[in-house]
Structure formats: C-alpha cells, structure tokens
Subunit: 488 residues, 2 copies
C-alpha cells in the first residue's frame, strides 16, 4: 500500500512494522524536554504541532497519524522535510523549518509514542454522518463515536498515569464527562492506575485557514476547562506556554460540558445566521431589492453588526456539521429536544447552491446544458485555497450533469483535491457564456478581472456574493452584460 502526498505528489510505501526505534532516537536527541504528543495531523493538529514545537517551552513534539494511504504521507512528509500542508501563511514554513532546525518535531504512526507523553493533545476528526433521500435534503444524521473512542482508548491503555490529555477535537457536548472520563476510570482500573492523577481537559481552537493560520492558534482567545480543578489548572499551565496569553487572555469555563457547548454554539451561531439571511436574500431577490444595500443599512446599528451576507453556500469542516453534532448531543447525551433552529440551518445552507442553480435554470431553461460556464472561485472561503466541503461542488456537479462545459478558476488553487480536478490558477478560459462568481476572493475586484470579463463578454454573470455590485454601471455600459441574481 502506498500513500501519496496531494501537495507534491511524492509517494511513500506505508510501513507495516513498528516505529519504536525512530521514536526512541528522537527522544534521545531531545533529552530533558517535556514530550507533547499531538494525535491527528489534520488541519488543526498539524498547525498545533508547529505552534507547540515553536513555543517558548521547547517541547519535544511527536505528531501521530495513521499508517494508511490517507494518513502516512503526512508522517513521511514531516520527517522528510516537506510541509504537510499548504497555506498562504508564511509562518507555517518558518515554524516548520525552525522545528527541523531544533530537531524537536517528529511524526509517527506508532502508538508507542503515547507511552512517553507528558501531554497528549487530541486533534483527530469526528464527523457527522448525514442521510439524504433527495439532493442535500437532510433527512437524518448521526454521530458515530466508535473511532473516536478507539483513538482515546489507544492513548489510555498506553499512557503514563499522570499526564494531561487536552481534547481539542470538536465533540458532542458531554463527551469528556460522559464518554472519556468513564473510559479513564475503566482502563485505569485494569492498569491499576490511579484515575485521579490523570488530567483531562478540553479546549477548543479557533483555527482559520489563510494568512493568519498560525496566529489563529497562537495569538487568539482560548476557552478551556477541566474535568476537575487540577485538570483545568494543568491545561492552563500548558496553554500559557503555547498561546500569547498576555494579549489574548484565557477564558476558563466551569466544566467540560460548558466548553464543548461553547465550541459548537459559536459555529452554530454563524451557520444559523447565514441560513437566516439566505431566506431573506431570496425574498429580497424576488422583490427586486439589493440585499447588500439592506444589510449595510441594518449594520449601522451596533446591535446588528454580526448580521451575515448571503452567498453561494456554506462550506468548510465546522459550520456544515457542528450544529448537528450539538443537536445530536442534546438528544442522545442529555435527553433534550433537538436544536431545531440549528438543524434547519444546516439544511438551508446545504441546499443553498441549488438556489443559484434555480436562478440559472429560470434564465436559460434547457439551454443551460449547452453553455460554457466558468466558476470564479472554488474554495469555500474568501482569500484562501481551502476546498473542504466547498459549496461550489454541488452547483458544479449539477451543471456537469446537465451537460454544461464547466471551467474552474481560483487564484489560490491549481488542484481541487476532493474532486481530483485541475483548477486554472490563471484566467485562460475562452468563449465563456456564463460566469459564476462563487467566492469573494479579494483579487476579483481588480482591473485584470474586469479586462478578462470584458474580453470574454459572457452572456451572463451570476454574482452570488455581490462582488461586482460596485461596478454595475461599468459592466452594463462596457460589457453589456446583465448580472443576475445578487447583482440585480
């Protein structure tokens, strides 16, 4: 079995044996340092590893991922001197090189690492399974904790008695107290360990992709809690060494349920406010009004300045699932009613791209299938090249299935990992009938984009984010294109 890096294409044979020798060698070279093991080298874990390795405490950091085709390339990249992630944040490479120089960052697949840890940071993924009968209609959903529990068990059955386990994974509220703590008690009983020595804490990151990726961990407010006073104190002590708490003071909450709720509540607040404004945007479109103009008028009030703006849809790893995770916990962990507003938000957001499809169908009818379409933007968020759960996918798939010839452009991307598709980083497509502005990348306001659009002279622009509202007159006079949808 091989594991191939989507970043540089390098292929590695997935090892079958253990990595004890590699780990021991690393530890020998880092004698006297506290050992922090980060479980999971994904979007959060990889960045967290770099931050911890570059902290003032000079920890020895071991990142753990799986010996699978999907996981091993990250391990091999890190140990081979290749960055395990792409980011526009220059600090990522700087921190990676610095850690290489210091020799205090190693990656492995071997759970032997847990036996050495002073601190284990849990950064593995935990997903929500959505069930749909119709396209993106959320009929049901569930959270399967099997893999998560197994990952925790893997730590608990090997770790030292008195370590700090800091859970950063977004979990259903109740997980630390109702799932992990009983596992500690059960496994420690078998190991004849004293469970009261074990420190269990929860703290959630507020990581954002983009230019401030590292800063969004290191220089941002953190919320944390412990399963008891000692655990919370221990988490605080650790976080003080990796986060710039002098400028971004820590917030301690009373228990782990509280921080777990806080995390998913934060993201649900955003998801729900996006869903809310989408419904109003559709009304606004039908009423022939400019939703952006309306939102600007409302945002004059400080009490309303968090109001969201509509767009093509909602993507990313968090907003698309966290409201459901919370609602699941509400029912399954605490016997409460589901979080109706939050659940509905996910459905509205998941289906949002279909509204853009509807606008195109209304305009072009069956002819839509014979059009050449260009997406401006493939990522799920402005000014980054992150395609996780991008809402572009649904509209892209639908247009392709209708027969349309679809081109993709994104100034931040040359490859769409999830779809295994090339993305045109430069604007080269010719004879485009329809341009869909699908992300609010800052570049799109530039003169070169106007020149490109002017040279292509598309029949229509579907400006799902109102990027070109400020240039409406220019478009109408010089390109004679009618912008539909949000462009009025």
């Amino acid at each position: 079995m091989n594991s191939t890096s989507p970043i540089n294409g390098k292929s590695y044979k997935v090892p079958v044996g253990n990595d004890e020798a590699g780990i021991k060698n690393f530890i020998n070279e880092n004698r006297g340092k506290k050992i922090v093991v980060v479980q999971g080298l994904g979007f959060v874990g990889a960045a967290m590893s770099l931050v911890v390795a570059n902290s003032k405490e000079n920890y020895a950091v071991i990142g753990v991922d799986t010996a699978t085709s999907g996981g091993y390339w990250k391990i091999a990249s890190i140990n081979g001197g290749d960055l395990p992630l792409v980011s526009s944040d220059q600090k990522v490479e700087q921190y990676f090189n610095q850690a290489r120089l210091q020799g205090n960052f190693y990656a492995t697949y071997d759970s032997y690492a847990y036996t050495l840890a002073d601190v284990v940071v849990v950064d593995i993924n935990l997903d929500v399974e959505k069930k749909s009968s119709e396209l993106k209609k959320l009929d049901d959903f569930s959270v399967d904790l099997t893999m998560f529990k197994s990952a925790i068990q893997s730590i608990l059955s090997r770790c030292k008695e008195d370590i700090l386990m800091l859970v950063e994974t977004t979990v259903p509220p109740g997980t630390c107290s109702k799932i992990i703590k009983p596992l500690v008690d059960e496994i420690f009983l078998k190991r004849s360990f004293n469970p009261t020595l074990f420190k269990l804490a929860h703290s959630y990151e507020r990581v954002m992709p983009g230019e401030n990726y590292i800063d969004s961990i290191e220089n941002f407010y953190r919320v944390y809690s412990g399963i008891n006073q000692k655990s919370a104190d221990s988490a605080e002590e650790f976080l003080r060494t990796v986060i710039k708490t002098s400028e971004y003071p820590l917030t301690r909450l009373s228990n782990t349920n509280a921080t777990e709720i806080s995390k998913v509540l934060e993201n649900s607040y955003r998801a729900m406010n996006i869903a809310f404004i989408q419904e109003w945007a559709e009304l606004s479109d039908a009423a022939g009004t400019d939703i952006y103009e309306i939102i600007s008028a409302i945002k004059m009030r400080p009490t309303h300045n968090n109001i969201m703006q509509p767009g093509l849809g909602v993507g990313g790893y968090c907003l698309t699932k966290d409201p459901l995770m919370a609602s699941w916990a509400s029912k399954e962990m605490f016997g409460c009613r589901p979080l109706g507003q939050s659940e509905a938000a996910v459905t509205i957001n998941d289906q949002m791209p279909l509204y853009s499809l509807e606008l195109l169908k209304q305009r072009f009818g069956d002819a839509l299938g014979s059009k050449k379409v260009l997406f401006l933007g493939v990522s799920y968020l402005n000014d980054v090249g992150d395609t996780r759960y991008t809402p572009v996918e649904l509209l892209f798939d639908e247009l392709v299935s209708l027969g349309a010839e679809v081109h993709l452009h994104d100034p931040y991307l040359s490859f769409w990992e999830e779809k295994k598709l090339n993305v045109e980083k430069k604007l080269t497509a010719k004879n485009i009938d329809i341009i869909i502005v699908s992300v609010r990348h800052k570049q799109f306001g530039g003169d070169d984009y106007f020149s490109y659009i002017n040279s292509v002279k598309p029949e229509y622009i579907l400006d799902t984010l109102g990027c070109y509202l400020g240039s409406l007159e220019k478009f109408r006079e010089e390109i004679h294109v009618k912008i539909i949808g949000r462009g009025l």
Copy 2:
C-alpha cells in the same frame, strides 16, 4: 360611549359630530406653518408628533386618532394638556409642554385634517393574527390589510394633490408599491388628480421605550426610500428637519420594498437570535452548565458579539409579529417560500415561558398549585414599564390556572393595563414560596432586593435571566435558597 385614559383615569364622552371648527381654529392660530398630520397616536405616532412639533421647522402638527373608546382619550388628553403616554423619558413631558406653549400641536378624530396636510405621517398599527390550536403553538397566521387600506384611502380621498405621505407603520414588504401606489392611482384618477405629483415614501423608526424614547426617534439613524426619486427627495427634506442628521446620517435605499424588508429583517434578526439561544439554553440547563458563562466566552469574538441571552420570553409589539409579517409577504406578495427560520423563531419565542413553567413543575409537581409566587418584573423589557405582549402573561396565566397565589412586582408599574391588574410598585408581599425573576430591571441587583429576598426566604428562586448569578454564594450562604433554572 365613553373613553377612559388608562394613565390618569379621566373619562371622556366620545363625540359624534365633526371637529372642523376645532381644526380650523388651530390652523388659524398657526398661519403660515407647514401642516404635518400624524395618523395614529400610539407608541410611535404620539412620540413622533412631539418630535415634529418640537423640530426646528416649527410645523403645525395635527395628531389623528379614532373617535372610539380606545382612541378618543388620547385626543382629549392632548388637547386638555395631559400627556397621552407614560414614559421615564423626561423629554416627553418637556416636549409636550413646549408644544403646548407654542400652540402647534393639536389632536383630532376628524379626517378633515387630511385636507389641510402638507405631510401625512402614517403611524397606525398593523397586526398579525396568530392562530393556535394548542397553547401558543403557531399553527397559522395572517395579515389583514383591510383596516390599513381603509386608513390610507381616508387620506387619499381627501388630501391635496402634491403632499408627502410618509409611511412609518411596519408593513409587509411590498405594501407601498403593490398596495398603496395602486390606491393612489385609482383614487387620484377619480379625483382627476395627477398621481405623479403625489409623493409616497417609507421610512421606519427605531423607537425604543424607556429613558431615551424621544432620542430614539430624533437622535438615531434613519432609513428611508421613495416610490420614485422625487418622493425620496421629499422624504429626505422632511426627515432632515426632524432628525439630527448631522450626527445620525440618513440612509436612502433604492426603493420602498427595500426599506420595508429592512425594517422587518432587523427585528427578525433579533427574534431569531433569541429563539436560537433559547434552544441552546435548554441544552445548557440540561448539561448543568451556565449559559451566561458560555455566552461571555463567545462574545470575546467581535464576530459573535450580537449573540443574545436567554430569558423568560419575548414581548413587545415588534419582535412578536414582524418575522411573520415578512414571511406572509414573502408568500403573498412575492410568491416566494416562507421564511422558515423566522417563522420558527416566533413559535419558539412565544412558547418560551412554558419552559419556565416546566422547570417549576419538575421541581414542585402538583404542589405548585398551592404555592405563593412572586414575579419580579411584569414589563416585557428591562428598565421600562411597558407591558405590551409581555411574556410574563403566559406564565402568570398558567400559574393562576393551577391555583397558585400570584403576586406581581415591578418598580416601573403600578397597573398592568392589558390584564387590568394592580402591580406592587414596592416590595410588600410576604410568605412567598417562589420568586420568579422575569425581567432584568437594573434595580433587582440592589441591596434592598437582597434584603427583601432574605426577609421572605422563599423556597425557590427561578431566575430566568441570571440576574442573581453574581450573588449565588451570598444567596446560598445567607438565605439557603437554591436558585434553579438559569441560576444553576
């Protein structure tokens, strides 16, 4: 038929004849002044009249209400020198006295006033009829425009050709363009008037009860629009004379649909965010966490600082109906889908007091019906004595129907108008078993309240707003009362 002031108890015989003589007399005394007629002397119209009468332009202001038992006392009060409203804002009385001194404010029931107007400001109420099979369960709702149209027709069939009609009533989006404008065209055709001379504009107030009642009109941002350029210009000219636009610049939107949407969107945003947090508060309560602590942690992020706090429920005239008005318009005026998130918000908010009832039932079971209960706060909003649609009503009614002896206290109220019930302005009730903190009045944090509670020593405090969270230790140690619900 008599009409009795709920403010001072004075009773007036409702007149049957016309008031032409009164109006003419007023006009004679205000020769040369532009005449502004304010239609509707309710919560907005009364205050708006005062602001216009005290503006730098020195208008002659005629307030119009109905010659009914519910409306005439306002007219008689104004002309008799009594304030037609209660407010903690000292400017209200000051402005009323100043207008009396200037002799430029008159009130009438006679639609003859419309024949003289240069500007008519429409401030009448427009309600949503809610239909429920179960307690506060919103099965259906509708907006009946009959009365509203009739009020507009009353103006249009009498007014001069080139007046400005400024609609301030919260209306279903589309009302100015699809309802009022066709009425203008139809009636003006009959009157052989030129409808293009008539100026129709919409502008929504952001009036708030309380100490800044007048300022919330005069010193706050305004949004406006016109049915055409000339109407918008005319509205702008008028608003500049009554609002301090140098500090609070006006926002012009492109058309009346836009300002109508903007108004109900603003209020729906609040209503929806309250409903959202209520669902999370229930989860938080079940998880034994402190929702206020969680919200504080989240509000550290500027992107999340509009997040609301849970309470007993939602009251007032706007948040309880505006989301429905918009959803109704979405379906009926524009053929769009309903605004699901906004509709659901109203149901959740309307039912919210039942959650507090549930908490009490869980604690006391059948014994609840034999308890003596005291509400701290009757109004719907903190620091004002406004009981319109107060959520206290539902919980009060339920407790009374269970047989409980219910006492009411509110530092801002001595009478609950809608229920015709006395309210104890001072804390006098003895032998109270349960205290329900139902409004976040600033007084409740004071030592006298603590002393009162200490002297009463209730079995339980249901602190629906977390008012006493900061004094939990004090309560537990000194009063030995366990605060339930939001007080943990």
